[in-house]
Symmetry: C2
Amino acid sequence: MTRKPASARRQDLVEAGLRVIAREGMHGATVRAIVAEAGVPLATFHYIFASRDEMIGEAYAYIAEVPGTGAALPDGATLEDVVRASFLRWFERFLEHPEYELAIMEVMAYCSRTPSLAHLPGKVQEHYLEALGELLEHVRSELGIAAPAVPTRDVARLVLHATDGLTYAWLRTRDSDASLRWIDAVVPMLAAALGDER
Amino acid sequence: MTRKPASARRQDLVEAGLRVIAREGMHGATVRAIVAEAGVPLATFHYIFASRDEMIGEAYAYIAEVPGTGAALPDGATLEDVVRASFLRWFERFLEHPEYELAIMEVMAYCSRTPSLAHLPGKVQEHYLEALGELLEHVRSELGIAAPAVPTRDVARLVLHATDGLTYAWLRTRDSDASLRWIDAVVPMLAAALGDER
DNA sequence: GGCCGTCTTGGACAGGCGTCCGAGATGCAG
DNA sequence: CTGCATCTCGGACGCCTGTCCAAGACGGCC
Protein backbone atom coordinates (compact mmCIF):
# COMPACT_ATOMS: atom_id res chain seq x y z
CA MET A 1 0.00 0.00 0.00
CA THR A 2 1.24 3.47 -0.84
CA ARG A 3 2.76 5.08 2.19
CA LYS A 4 0.86 8.06 3.54
CA PRO A 5 1.33 10.25 6.60
CA ALA A 6 -1.12 9.49 9.38
CA SER A 7 -2.92 12.81 8.86
CA ALA A 8 -3.83 11.90 5.27
CA ARG A 9 -5.00 8.41 6.26
CA ARG A 10 -7.04 10.06 8.97
CA GLN A 11 -8.93 12.18 6.44
CA ASP A 12 -9.37 9.20 4.09
CA LEU A 13 -10.92 7.17 6.87
CA VAL A 14 -13.16 10.01 8.05
CA GLU A 15 -14.49 10.52 4.54
CA ALA A 16 -14.92 6.80 3.98
CA GLY A 17 -16.73 6.61 7.30
CA LEU A 18 -19.15 9.34 6.34
CA ARG A 19 -19.84 7.60 3.03
CA VAL A 20 -20.59 4.34 4.81
CA ILE A 21 -22.84 6.01 7.36
CA ALA A 22 -24.72 7.80 4.58
CA ARG A 23 -25.20 4.53 2.71
CA GLU A 24 -25.80 2.04 5.51
CA GLY A 25 -26.59 4.13 8.55
CA MET A 26 -24.80 4.20 11.87
CA HIS A 27 -25.78 0.57 12.40
CA GLY A 28 -23.77 -0.64 9.43
CA ALA A 29 -20.80 1.63 9.99
CA THR A 30 -18.53 -0.99 11.52
CA VAL A 31 -14.78 -0.61 11.58
CA ARG A 32 -14.52 -3.39 9.00
CA ALA A 33 -17.02 -1.71 6.67
CA ILE A 34 -15.18 1.58 6.95
CA VAL A 35 -11.73 0.19 6.20
CA ALA A 36 -13.20 -1.76 3.27
CA GLU A 37 -14.69 1.49 1.91
CA ALA A 38 -11.33 3.23 2.32
CA GLY A 39 -9.48 0.26 0.84
CA VAL A 40 -7.06 -0.16 3.72
CA PRO A 41 -6.31 -3.11 6.00
CA LEU A 42 -8.21 -3.47 9.24
CA ALA A 43 -5.22 -2.78 11.47
CA THR A 44 -4.70 0.62 9.88
CA PHE A 45 -7.81 1.88 11.63
CA HIS A 46 -6.43 1.50 15.11
CA TYR A 47 -3.07 2.78 14.08
CA ILE A 48 -4.85 6.05 13.29
CA PHE A 49 -7.65 6.15 15.84
CA ALA A 50 -7.56 5.05 19.46
CA SER A 51 -11.17 3.89 19.15
CA ARG A 52 -14.11 3.82 16.80
CA ASP A 53 -15.79 6.53 18.85
CA GLU A 54 -12.85 8.84 18.28
CA MET A 55 -13.34 8.44 14.54
CA ILE A 56 -17.08 9.06 14.78
CA GLY A 57 -16.41 12.26 16.66
CA GLU A 58 -13.88 13.35 14.07
CA ALA A 59 -16.40 12.63 11.32
CA TYR A 60 -19.11 14.67 12.99
CA ALA A 61 -16.77 17.62 13.48
CA TYR A 62 -15.68 17.25 9.85
CA ILE A 63 -19.26 17.87 8.72
CA ALA A 64 -19.27 21.32 10.26
CA GLU A 65 -16.37 22.35 8.03
CA VAL A 66 -18.52 22.26 4.90
CA PRO A 67 -19.07 25.86 3.79
CA GLY A 68 -22.55 27.35 3.59
CA THR A 69 -24.31 28.29 0.38
CA GLY A 70 -22.99 31.68 -0.58
CA ALA A 71 -25.52 33.20 -2.97
CA ALA A 72 -25.14 35.86 -5.67
CA LEU A 73 -28.02 38.23 -5.13
CA PRO A 74 -29.92 39.59 -8.14
CA ASP A 75 -30.20 43.40 -8.22
CA GLY A 76 -33.39 45.00 -7.03
CA ALA A 77 -34.53 41.96 -5.11
CA THR A 78 -36.47 42.49 -1.92
CA LEU A 79 -35.14 41.12 1.33
CA GLU A 80 -37.80 38.44 1.29
CA ASP A 81 -36.82 37.38 -2.22
CA VAL A 82 -33.23 36.98 -1.16
CA VAL A 83 -34.12 34.96 1.92
CA ARG A 84 -36.46 32.76 -0.09
CA ALA A 85 -33.88 32.20 -2.82
CA SER A 86 -31.23 31.24 -0.28
CA PHE A 87 -33.55 28.89 1.52
CA LEU A 88 -34.62 27.25 -1.73
CA ARG A 89 -31.03 26.84 -2.80
CA TRP A 90 -30.24 25.10 0.47
CA PHE A 91 -33.26 22.86 -0.05
CA GLU A 92 -32.09 21.90 -3.53
CA ARG A 93 -28.73 20.92 -2.12
CA PHE A 94 -30.53 18.95 0.54
CA LEU A 95 -32.55 17.05 -2.07
CA GLU A 96 -29.40 16.04 -3.91
CA HIS A 97 -28.18 13.99 -0.95
CA PRO A 98 -30.88 13.59 1.68
CA GLU A 99 -29.18 10.43 2.97
CA TYR A 100 -26.34 12.62 4.16
CA GLU A 101 -28.71 14.65 6.26
CA LEU A 102 -30.09 11.45 7.75
CA ALA A 103 -26.52 10.35 8.45
CA ILE A 104 -25.80 13.62 10.24
CA MET A 105 -28.90 13.11 12.33
CA GLU A 106 -27.82 9.61 13.29
CA VAL A 107 -24.31 10.73 14.15
CA MET A 108 -25.60 13.57 16.28
CA ALA A 109 -27.86 11.15 18.17
CA TYR A 110 -24.97 8.76 18.70
CA CYS A 111 -22.74 11.56 19.94
CA SER A 112 -25.44 12.74 22.35
CA ARG A 113 -25.47 9.26 23.87
CA THR A 114 -21.70 8.91 24.17
CA PRO A 115 -20.21 10.84 27.10
CA SER A 116 -16.87 11.50 25.41
CA LEU A 117 -18.65 12.93 22.35
CA ALA A 118 -21.63 14.60 23.99
CA HIS A 119 -20.13 18.07 23.65
CA LEU A 120 -19.93 17.86 19.86
CA PRO A 121 -23.52 18.57 18.76
CA GLY A 122 -23.34 21.94 20.49
CA LYS A 123 -20.05 22.72 18.81
CA VAL A 124 -21.35 21.74 15.39
CA GLN A 125 -24.35 24.00 15.94
CA GLU A 126 -21.91 26.76 16.83
CA HIS A 127 -20.17 26.34 13.48
CA TYR A 128 -23.50 26.37 11.67
CA LEU A 129 -24.47 29.57 13.46
CA GLU A 130 -21.19 31.23 12.61
CA ALA A 131 -21.36 30.35 8.91
CA LEU A 132 -25.03 31.32 8.70
CA GLY A 133 -24.34 34.51 10.62
CA GLU A 134 -21.78 35.56 8.06
CA LEU A 135 -24.19 34.90 5.23
CA LEU A 136 -26.90 36.93 6.96
CA GLU A 137 -24.52 39.81 7.66
CA HIS A 138 -23.58 39.75 4.01
CA VAL A 139 -27.21 39.95 2.95
CA ARG A 140 -27.87 42.74 5.42
CA SER A 141 -24.96 44.87 4.22
CA GLU A 142 -25.74 44.13 0.58
CA LEU A 143 -29.27 45.46 1.05
CA GLY A 144 -28.19 48.34 3.26
CA ILE A 145 -29.95 47.28 6.44
CA ALA A 146 -28.25 48.95 9.37
CA ALA A 147 -28.35 48.84 13.15
CA PRO A 148 -30.22 45.58 13.68
CA ALA A 149 -32.32 45.35 16.82
CA VAL A 150 -32.53 41.60 16.43
CA PRO A 151 -28.94 40.30 16.69
CA THR A 152 -27.76 38.39 13.66
CA ARG A 153 -27.00 35.39 15.83
CA ASP A 154 -30.63 35.22 16.95
CA VAL A 155 -31.87 35.39 13.38
CA ALA A 156 -29.42 32.63 12.46
CA ARG A 157 -30.88 30.50 15.23
CA LEU A 158 -34.37 31.03 13.83
CA VAL A 159 -33.20 30.03 10.36
CA LEU A 160 -31.57 26.92 11.78
CA HIS A 161 -34.79 25.96 13.54
CA ALA A 162 -36.60 26.34 10.23
CA THR A 163 -34.16 24.17 8.28
CA ASP A 164 -34.09 21.61 11.09
CA GLY A 165 -37.86 21.32 10.96
CA LEU A 166 -37.78 20.81 7.24
CA THR A 167 -35.04 18.21 7.55
CA TYR A 168 -36.75 16.13 10.20
CA ALA A 169 -40.19 16.26 8.61
CA TRP A 170 -38.90 15.57 5.10
CA LEU A 171 -36.90 12.54 6.22
CA ARG A 172 -40.08 11.02 7.64
CA THR A 173 -42.36 11.77 4.73
CA ARG A 174 -40.17 12.56 1.69
CA ASP A 175 -42.88 15.08 0.90
CA SER A 176 -41.18 17.91 -0.96
CA ASP A 177 -44.43 19.76 -1.63
CA ALA A 178 -45.04 20.08 2.09
CA SER A 179 -41.48 21.33 2.47
CA LEU A 180 -42.04 24.02 -0.13
CA ARG A 181 -45.21 25.14 1.61
CA TRP A 182 -43.26 25.33 4.85
CA ILE A 183 -40.64 27.48 3.16
CA ASP A 184 -43.36 29.77 1.82
CA ALA A 185 -44.76 30.12 5.31
CA VAL A 186 -41.57 30.77 7.29
CA VAL A 187 -39.63 32.92 4.85
CA PRO A 188 -41.67 36.09 5.48
CA MET A 189 -41.15 35.66 9.21
CA LEU A 190 -37.42 35.13 8.82
CA ALA A 191 -37.13 38.07 6.45
CA ALA A 192 -39.01 40.23 8.93
CA ALA A 193 -36.62 39.26 11.72
CA LEU A 194 -33.64 39.92 9.50
CA GLY A 195 -35.05 43.19 8.22
CA ASP A 196 -35.94 44.21 11.74
CA GLU A 197 -39.55 45.01 11.06
CA ARG A 198 -41.94 44.56 13.92
CA MET B 1 -42.82 -16.85 35.61
CA THR B 2 -46.45 -15.80 35.69
CA ARG B 3 -48.20 -17.03 32.62
CA LYS B 4 -49.38 -14.30 30.26
CA PRO B 5 -51.00 -14.35 26.84
CA ALA B 6 -48.61 -13.49 24.04
CA SER B 7 -50.35 -10.19 23.38
CA ALA B 8 -49.63 -8.96 26.93
CA ARG B 9 -45.98 -10.05 26.75
CA ARG B 10 -45.79 -8.26 23.44
CA GLN B 11 -46.80 -4.95 25.01
CA ASP B 12 -44.48 -5.50 27.98
CA LEU B 13 -41.55 -6.02 25.64
CA VAL B 14 -42.44 -3.05 23.46
CA GLU B 15 -42.61 -0.77 26.48
CA ALA B 16 -39.40 -2.17 27.95
CA GLY B 17 -37.77 -1.69 24.56
CA LEU B 18 -38.79 1.95 24.42
CA ARG B 19 -37.45 2.50 27.92
CA VAL B 20 -34.12 0.95 27.00
CA ILE B 21 -33.84 2.97 23.81
CA ALA B 22 -34.64 6.16 25.70
CA ARG B 23 -31.99 5.37 28.30
CA GLU B 24 -29.21 3.85 26.20
CA GLY B 25 -30.03 4.76 22.64
CA MET B 26 -30.62 2.46 19.72
CA HIS B 27 -27.03 1.25 20.02
CA GLY B 28 -27.60 -0.23 23.47
CA ALA B 29 -31.04 -1.64 22.74
CA THR B 30 -29.94 -5.25 22.32
CA VAL B 31 -32.34 -8.13 22.69
CA ARG B 32 -30.63 -9.07 25.94
CA ALA B 33 -30.92 -5.55 27.35
CA ILE B 34 -34.60 -5.44 26.47
CA VAL B 35 -35.50 -8.77 28.04
CA ALA B 36 -33.53 -7.78 31.15
CA GLU B 37 -35.54 -4.55 31.36
CA ALA B 38 -38.78 -6.48 30.97
CA GLY B 39 -37.60 -9.13 33.45
CA VAL B 40 -38.20 -12.10 31.15
CA PRO B 41 -35.85 -14.82 29.90
CA LEU B 42 -34.05 -14.34 26.63
CA ALA B 43 -35.96 -17.02 24.76
CA THR B 44 -39.25 -15.27 25.42
CA PHE B 45 -38.28 -12.55 22.98
CA HIS B 46 -38.24 -14.80 19.95
CA TYR B 47 -41.33 -16.61 21.08
CA ILE B 48 -43.11 -13.26 20.72
CA PHE B 49 -41.27 -11.60 17.86
CA ALA B 50 -39.88 -13.19 14.72
CA SER B 51 -36.96 -10.77 14.80
CA ARG B 52 -35.60 -7.78 16.63
CA ASP B 53 -36.57 -5.56 13.71
CA GLU B 54 -40.18 -6.62 14.06
CA MET B 55 -40.12 -5.44 17.67
CA ILE B 56 -38.49 -2.13 16.74
CA GLY B 57 -41.20 -1.53 14.19
CA GLU B 58 -43.89 -2.34 16.72
CA ALA B 59 -42.29 0.07 19.18
CA TYR B 60 -42.18 2.90 16.66
CA ALA B 61 -45.82 2.39 15.75
CA TYR B 62 -46.67 2.28 19.46
CA ILE B 63 -45.33 5.81 19.86
CA ALA B 64 -47.90 7.19 17.48
CA GLU B 65 -50.69 5.95 19.74
CA VAL B 66 -49.85 8.51 22.44
CA PRO B 67 -52.62 11.10 22.48
CA GLY B 68 -51.92 14.78 21.77
CA THR B 69 -52.16 17.57 24.28
CA GLY B 70 -55.81 18.47 24.52
CA ALA B 71 -55.99 21.92 26.08
CA ALA B 72 -58.72 23.68 28.00
CA LEU B 73 -58.98 27.14 26.48
CA PRO B 74 -59.47 30.16 28.73
CA ASP B 75 -62.40 32.36 27.73
CA GLY B 76 -61.75 35.48 25.75
CA ALA B 77 -58.35 34.32 24.52
CA THR B 78 -57.26 35.33 21.05
CA LEU B 79 -56.43 32.68 18.50
CA GLU B 80 -52.75 33.49 18.84
CA ASP B 81 -52.93 33.07 22.61
CA VAL B 82 -54.46 29.64 22.22
CA VAL B 83 -51.87 28.53 19.69
CA ARG B 84 -49.05 29.83 21.86
CA ALA B 85 -50.43 28.17 24.98
CA SER B 86 -50.78 24.84 23.19
CA PHE B 87 -47.30 25.05 21.75
CA LEU B 88 -45.83 25.94 25.14
CA ARG B 89 -47.67 23.08 26.78
CA TRP B 90 -46.23 20.67 24.23
CA PHE B 91 -42.78 22.13 24.90
CA GLU B 92 -43.15 21.60 28.64
CA ARG B 93 -44.03 17.97 28.06
CA PHE B 94 -41.04 17.73 25.77
CA LEU B 95 -38.74 19.09 28.47
CA GLU B 96 -39.93 16.50 30.95
CA HIS B 97 -38.54 13.66 28.84
CA PRO B 98 -36.33 14.94 26.05
CA GLU B 99 -34.52 11.61 25.93
CA TYR B 100 -37.72 10.08 24.60
CA GLU B 101 -37.74 12.50 21.72
CA LEU B 102 -34.14 11.58 20.96
CA ALA B 103 -35.15 7.93 21.09
CA ILE B 104 -37.96 8.54 18.62
CA MET B 105 -35.51 10.25 16.32
CA GLU B 106 -33.12 7.32 16.49
CA VAL B 107 -35.87 4.80 15.88
CA MET B 108 -37.17 6.74 12.92
CA ALA B 109 -33.65 6.85 11.41
CA TYR B 110 -33.25 3.13 11.97
CA CYS B 111 -36.60 2.41 10.35
CA SER B 112 -35.71 4.57 7.36
CA ARG B 113 -32.64 2.41 6.83
CA THR B 114 -34.42 -0.93 7.19
CA PRO B 115 -36.40 -1.92 4.08
CA SER B 116 -39.06 -3.86 6.00
CA LEU B 117 -39.67 -0.84 8.28
CA ALA B 118 -39.12 2.00 5.83
CA HIS B 119 -42.83 2.65 5.45
CA LEU B 120 -43.32 3.38 9.15
CA PRO B 121 -42.06 6.96 9.50
CA GLY B 122 -44.65 8.09 6.97
CA LYS B 123 -47.38 6.25 8.84
CA VAL B 124 -46.33 7.73 12.17
CA GLN B 125 -46.41 11.18 10.63
CA GLU B 126 -49.90 10.37 9.38
CA HIS B 127 -51.03 9.63 12.94
CA TYR B 128 -49.44 12.85 14.20
CA LEU B 129 -51.25 14.80 11.50
CA GLU B 130 -54.57 13.23 12.34
CA ALA B 131 -54.27 13.89 16.08
CA LEU B 132 -53.03 17.42 15.50
CA GLY B 133 -55.76 18.02 12.92
CA GLU B 134 -58.42 17.14 15.45
CA LEU B 135 -56.92 19.52 17.97
CA LEU B 136 -56.82 22.32 15.40
CA GLU B 137 -60.41 21.68 14.33
CA HIS B 138 -61.41 21.84 17.95
CA VAL B 139 -59.67 25.20 18.39
CA ARG B 140 -61.24 26.51 15.22
CA SER B 141 -64.77 25.55 16.21
CA GLU B 142 -64.24 26.78 19.76
CA LEU B 143 -63.27 30.22 18.47
CA GLY B 144 -65.91 30.23 15.75
CA ILE B 145 -63.63 30.29 12.76
CA ALA B 146 -65.51 29.00 9.76
CA ALA B 147 -64.84 27.99 6.18
CA PRO B 148 -61.06 27.70 6.24
CA ALA B 149 -59.25 28.48 3.01
CA VAL B 150 -56.13 26.80 4.34
CA PRO B 151 -57.03 23.13 4.93
CA THR B 152 -56.56 21.98 8.52
CA ARG B 153 -54.23 19.25 7.34
CA ASP B 154 -51.90 21.82 5.79
CA VAL B 155 -51.85 23.86 8.98
CA ALA B 156 -51.11 20.69 10.93
CA ARG B 157 -48.16 20.05 8.65
CA LEU B 158 -46.82 23.53 9.35
CA VAL B 159 -47.16 22.99 13.10
CA LEU B 160 -45.34 19.68 12.78
CA HIS B 161 -42.50 21.35 10.90
CA ALA B 162 -42.26 23.89 13.69
CA THR B 163 -42.13 21.31 16.48
CA ASP B 164 -39.70 19.18 14.50
CA GLY B 165 -37.37 22.15 14.16
CA LEU B 166 -37.52 22.81 17.85
CA THR B 167 -36.90 19.16 18.64
CA TYR B 168 -33.87 18.78 16.43
CA ALA B 169 -32.27 22.08 17.42
CA TRP B 170 -32.92 21.60 21.13
CA LEU B 171 -31.42 18.12 21.15
CA ARG B 172 -28.20 19.55 19.72
CA THR B 173 -27.96 22.58 21.98
CA ARG B 174 -30.26 22.00 24.98
CA ASP B 175 -30.91 25.72 24.68
CA SER B 176 -34.44 26.28 25.95
CA ASP B 177 -34.20 30.06 25.61
CA ALA B 178 -33.61 29.72 21.91
CA SER B 179 -36.56 27.36 21.72
CA LEU B 180 -38.81 29.90 23.42
CA ARG B 181 -37.70 32.60 20.99
CA TRP B 182 -38.48 30.23 18.15
CA ILE B 183 -41.95 29.67 19.56
CA ASP B 184 -42.47 33.41 19.83
CA ALA B 185 -41.49 33.81 16.21
CA VAL B 186 -43.53 31.01 14.63
CA VAL B 187 -46.70 31.18 16.66
CA PRO B 188 -48.05 34.32 14.92
CA MET B 189 -47.47 32.68 11.55
CA LEU B 190 -49.19 29.46 12.60
CA ALA B 191 -52.08 31.36 14.13
CA ALA B 192 -52.44 33.36 10.93
CA ALA B 193 -52.58 30.18 8.86
CA LEU B 194 -55.13 28.66 11.21
CA GLY B 195 -57.17 31.84 11.37
CA ASP B 196 -57.00 32.14 7.63
CA GLU B 197 -55.68 35.68 7.57
CA ARG B 198 -53.54 36.63 4.62
C1' DG C 1 -58.43 -37.09 35.12
C1' DG C 2 -56.27 -36.72 30.87
C1' DC C 3 -55.46 -34.14 26.76
C1' DC C 4 -53.55 -30.46 24.07
C1' DG C 5 -52.82 -25.86 22.78
C1' DT C 6 -50.25 -22.20 24.84
C1' DC C 7 -46.50 -20.42 27.10
C1' DT C 8 -41.75 -20.79 29.46
C1' DT C 9 -36.95 -21.43 29.48
C1' DG C 10 -31.82 -23.10 29.70
C1' DG C 11 -28.53 -23.51 26.76
C1' DA C 12 -26.21 -23.46 22.57
C1' DC C 13 -24.96 -21.90 17.74
C1' DA C 14 -22.35 -19.39 14.17
C1' DG C 15 -20.96 -15.17 13.11
C1' DG C 16 -19.63 -10.36 13.77
C1' DC C 17 -17.76 -6.98 16.76
C1' DG C 18 -13.89 -3.59 18.57
C1' DT C 19 -9.38 -3.96 19.80
C1' DC C 20 -4.59 -5.30 19.94
C1' DC C 21 0.03 -7.47 19.14
C1' DG C 22 4.31 -7.88 16.92
C1' DA C 23 6.91 -8.50 12.94
C1' DG C 24 8.07 -6.45 8.70
C1' DA C 25 8.53 -2.72 5.14
C1' DT C 26 9.73 2.05 4.05
C1' DG C 27 12.31 6.19 3.50
C1' DC C 28 14.54 10.37 5.41
C1' DA C 29 18.73 12.20 8.53
C1' DG C 30 23.31 11.59 9.79
C1' DC D 1 25.49 2.83 4.49
C1' DT D 2 23.37 2.74 9.09
C1' DG D 3 19.87 4.03 12.31
C1' DC D 4 15.46 5.17 13.65
C1' DA D 5 10.98 7.08 13.47
C1' DT D 6 7.09 6.10 10.86
C1' DC D 7 3.81 3.42 8.63
C1' DT D 8 1.87 -1.32 7.07
C1' DC D 9 -0.75 -5.36 8.02
C1' DG D 10 -1.89 -10.59 8.87
C1' DG D 11 -3.84 -12.70 12.26
C1' DA D 12 -5.74 -13.46 16.57
C1' DC D 13 -8.13 -12.31 21.15
C1' DG D 14 -12.39 -12.47 24.03
C1' DC D 15 -16.78 -10.75 24.07
C1' DC D 16 -21.32 -9.89 22.47
C1' DT D 17 -24.75 -10.27 18.99
C1' DG D 18 -29.45 -12.21 16.95
C1' DT D 19 -31.50 -16.42 16.47
C1' DC D 20 -33.04 -21.07 17.38
C1' DC D 21 -34.06 -25.68 19.39
C1' DA D 22 -36.10 -28.99 22.22
C1' DA D 23 -37.78 -30.08 26.59
C1' DG D 24 -40.66 -28.91 30.17
C1' DA D 25 -44.67 -26.57 32.87
C1' DC D 26 -49.12 -24.70 32.92
C1' DG D 27 -54.22 -24.61 32.81
C1' DG D 28 -58.90 -24.62 30.55
C1' DC D 29 -62.03 -28.13 28.14
C1' DC D 30 -63.97 -32.73 27.22
